[in-house]
C-alpha cells in the first residue's frame, strides 16, 4: 500500500476530520452495518484483532479509489465511529421514549462508541507524533 502521511496528516492537523466524514453519503440513520470493509480488515489485522464478519462495503464517495492508503483508512474509521455514535444515540433515545430497547443494550452501545472514539483519537495522536519525528530528522 502507498503511504502518503503528508496528505492525511495535514488534513488531520487542519481539523478536516469533519470534512472527511462529510465526503461520504450520510450513513443511514439507525442502521447497524454488520460487515467490515477491506480497508478496515487490513487495519484491524495490523492491530492484531480478529475479523470474522464477511466484508461488505459501506464507502461510497471515494470514487472507486483503492481504499488502502492511510488517508482512506482514517477516513473510513472516522465514518465508522460516527455511525457507531449515532447508532448509540438512537438506542438511548428509544430508551427515553419508552420503546422496546433494553437499557443495558443502550449502555453498551454508548460505552463502545465512546471507547471507539478514544481509540481513534489515540491513533491520530500517535500518527501526529510520528510525523513530527520524521519532520525533525536532519536530512
Amino acid at each position: 500500500m502507498t503511504i502518503n502521511p503528508l496528505d492525511a496528516l495535514s488534513s488531520l492537523t487542519q481539523g478536516q476530520l469533519g470534512n472527511m466524514g462529510a465526503l461520504n453519503a450520510n450513513p443511514p440513520a439507525g442502521a447497524v452495518p454488520t460487515g467490515m470493509t477491506p480497508a478496515s480488515e487490513s487495519f484491524n489485522s495490523l492491530l492484531g484483532t480478529q475479523s470474522t464478519a464477511p466484508a461488505t462495503s459501506s464507502v461510497a464517495a471515494t470514487g472507486g479509489a483503492s481504499p488502502t492508503t492511510w488517508g482512506h483508512m482514517v477516513q473510513q474509521m472516522v465514518m465508522d465511529v460516527n455511525s457507531q455514535q449515532s447508532n448509540a444515540n438512537v438506542m438511548v433515545n428509544d430508551v427515553l421514549k419508552g420503546g422496546p430497547t433494553p437499557v443495558h443494550q443502550a449502555m453498551v452501545a454508548t460505552e463502545e462508541a465512546s471507547l471507539s472514539f478514544e481509540f481513534l483519537t489515540e491513533v491520530r495522536n500517535k500518527v501526529l507524533d510520528a510525523y513530527n519525528q520524521i519532520m525533525q530528522m536532519q536530512v
Binding site: 422496546p100 433494553p102 465512546s114
Partner: protein, 140 residues
Amino acid sequence: MSMIPGIDSAASALGVERTRLDVIAGNLANAQNTSDASGQVYRRKMVVFESQLNNALGESTGANAGSSVSARVVDDPSPMPKVYMPGHPKADKSGMVEMPNVDPLNEMVDMMTASRSYQANLQAIQTGRSMFEQSLKIVE
C-alpha cells in the same frame, strides 16, 4: 417505562391488590349491615382478576413485555344467610332476618393473600430497580 424491567406488570398488580384490600375492608365493615343507604341488606363485593398482555407480540423484546393484571369489582351473587332474630326491625313473618353474605374468616384469608402478593410485587420492583442501577455502571 422501559428502564426498569417488569415494572409495568408489578405496578399493575400493586394497584389491583390495593383495590382488593379496599374491598375487603368494606366487606368487613359492613358484615352486620342489614340496611344500607337504599334500605337493602349489604351484599358482599368481590374482585375479579384478569390478565392482559402489555403490548402486541411484535414488541415483546422490550422492557415492557409480559402480562399485567386488572381487576373489576363485582357483587358476590351467592345467597344471603338468614338468621332467626324475631325482634329485629327487618325480621319477616317467621322472624328470620337476611344478613350480609360476608364471612369474616374468608375476608381475613383474602387479606393475607393480597398482602403477600403486594409484598412480592414490591420486591419485583426493587429487584428491577437494582438491575437498572447496575446497568448504569457499564458506562462509568
